[in-house]
Amino acid sequence: MQLRLEPRAMPSKWLRYSSPLIALALTLVFGVILFSALGQNPAVALYTFFIRPIGTLYGLSELCIKAAPLLLCAVGLAIGFRGNVWNIGAEGQLTMGAICGGGLALAFYGDEGPWLLPLMIVGGGLGGMAWGAIPAFLKTRFNANEILTSLMLTYVAIQVLGYLVHGPWRDPEGFNFPETRLFGEDALLPVLIEGTRFHFGVVLAVLAAMIGWVFVTRTFAGFQIKVVGQAMAAANYAGYSGNRVVWTGFLIGGGLAGLAGLGEVAGPMGQLNPTISPGYGFAAIIVAFLGRLHPAGVLLASLLMALMYLGGESLQMNLNLPLAITGVFQGTLLFFVLASDVFIRFRVKLVHNVPRTAP
């Protein structure tokens, strides 16, 4: 007897929405086993991981803040991935956006006005776009694989940031420590809920997701990307340019990642320092696929990913569980979510050893 997967004639609509619930159920089962094995009360541990971090208004606002950069990066990446544009350098584009937007805040320090923040937002987006344009150029002009170039440029961007905050941009009153001065009031994204850090950048992120959704489903350019991604031959026949899709993917992905970077430095951080992103650009790749490359799905996936970070902190703080456990738990949760998708397109059958004679 063995398990067999059988393709469904039509992807199951019902399972499309319920497969994440199957994943959640499996995760809970695994969580009970894992935490019991560690000598913890599993109910308390699961509550501490999933519920406790968002049990307050402040917790919810933190969830949104944490999800915002993931959402921005992942929406941009998803649009590219639909067209088989493999930008895995969102982390670098995010960093460059933070550098450009934050650099404007420093350049106009003490000489600012209400015009500064919009300028920074534009600067952040353009900075990310410019950094994304390099792999696009190298791909379209020299045929250089974008996986390598975008990844390598990420490391370069992080070193450039290090160079700037250790050197020319460090706070003149900061005893030569590696961070810039705190931005002026006009260079900060306004906080929208008093008593929290819920800032305007979160709204920008949600707007970006909505615009992304319209772009993907309602525009011709979005359609072109999809065609190129799914059938290059058909795209050629229709006269769609692969190069244009590469450029579109990288400029949108880079621009949104740049905005994410700006949202961090002009939002909760209020300055530049050597560690702007704890890997949002890489995590966003998972988020993009968890959200099935659809902006609405990406929105949910970014919230889930953000909750996993908060839950990890909560486990450490409240149950003294090491960070390592969080990694194991997070990885397993992702495995379940990814694996559950199989039920959408396939049904599982138990067959007795008679292969290829299914009814």
């Binding site: 393709p7 070193q159 450039v160 960070l323 495995f335 694996a339």
Partner: protein
């Protein structure tokens, strides 16, 4: 003589720095040639590193350490294979999740083994030849795994281009439908390729924890898995170029350190960008001949396969 000694030191250090990259990248090369993209190298390396280290501490045998690292890497890649090949989960996302999982798992099982220094793998100087000035230290005076990595390179090259099994593997990576139609078991071949990738990633991790810096510490791979991944692309899926990439990357890192130690004033941040920029530059130079790359890149890379019965 002093200059020659320095140059030899740079070259020897380059080979050592490039060796873990070479191991991991060769495995990923085979995996990708079969049409599977596994982004979880970093996670597999870490689990290999910790497993190798623990086995070495428990048994005292470096050989068992390396074998345990291979087994652990294979277990990780087997998990990846189950998710992406059997259950057809998305390869890119599963690979990244594998890294998150591997970072956590290695840190967790390694908790009791932190701060437990071991005697690293001894060098394997080849008698007589190892005593030749310059050439001796350059070619015949390394730790055993450096030689193994070079033998592996030769074996992978032979396998891919000279053996029938390699031909089948490449066919599967090129078009799984066609390979399936001829009667090859796409799934089985891909599983084997993925497991091979896990095994070499495991060795790459063990190279760090048993040879390079004989100790276990969380996250000790420090991003080398990502570089290995990039090197496969850099090499345009050709084994010999993986060697070139690994040594180029290692060599420029080492050169940067030597330049600094000699007292040149360069921003250490800008020096640190050099290996990445050099890799991009060389890739651009290699890639201009578009048709040759297309021939090397596996056409079915990353695409799931289901043999509907």
């Amino acid at each position: 003589m002093a200059e020659i000694d320095t140059i030899v030191a740079i070259l020897v250090a380059t080979m050592r720095a490039g060796t873990p990259l070479l191991f991991a990248a060769l495995g990923e090369l085979i995996t990708e040639k079969a049409g599977v993209l596994n982004l979880g190298i970093e996670g597999m390396m870490l689990v290999g590193a910790v497993a190798g280290f623990i086995a070495m501490v428990l048994t005292g045998s470096p050989l068992i350490g390396v074998l345990a690292a291979m087994a652990a890497g294979m277990a990780m890649s087997g998990l990846f294979g189950f998710l992406t090949l059997t259950l057809m989960a998305n390869q890119v996302a599963t690979g990244l999740a594998l890294t998150i999982f591997g970072v956590g798992l290695s840190a967790f099982v390694g908790l009791g083994y932190i701060g437990n220094p071991i005697q690293g793998l001894p060098g394997l100087a080849i008698p007589v030849l190892g005593d030749i000035p310059v050439l001796g230290s350059l070619l015949f005076n390394h730790d055993p795994l450096v030689y193994v990595s070079l033998v592996l390179l030769a074996a992978v090259t032979w396998f891919l281009y000279r053996s029938r099994a390699g031909l089948i593997l490449r066919a599967v990576g090129e078009s799984h439908e066609a390979a399936h139609a001829i009667g090859y078991s796409v799934l089985k071949i891909r599983y084997l390729a993925v497991l091979f990738g896990g095994a070499t990633s495991g060795i790459a991790g063990a190279y760090l924890s048993l040879v390079y810096t004989p100790q276990w510490a969380e996250n000790m791979t420090a991003g080398r898995g990502w570089i290995a991944l990039a090197l496969v692309v850099f090499a345009t899926w050709r084994p010999a170029r993986v060697l070139l990439g690994a040594y180029l990357f290692g060599g420029i890192t080492i050169m940067g350190l030597h330049v600094q130690a000699a007292g040149f004033a360069i921003s250490s941040h800008l020096v640190a960008t050099l290996p990445y920029l050099a890799t991009v530059l060389v890739l651009v130079l290699i890639s201009r001949d578009a048709t040759r790359i297309k021939l090397n890149a596996p056409a079915a890379l990353g695409k799931p396969f289901h043999s509907s019965g």
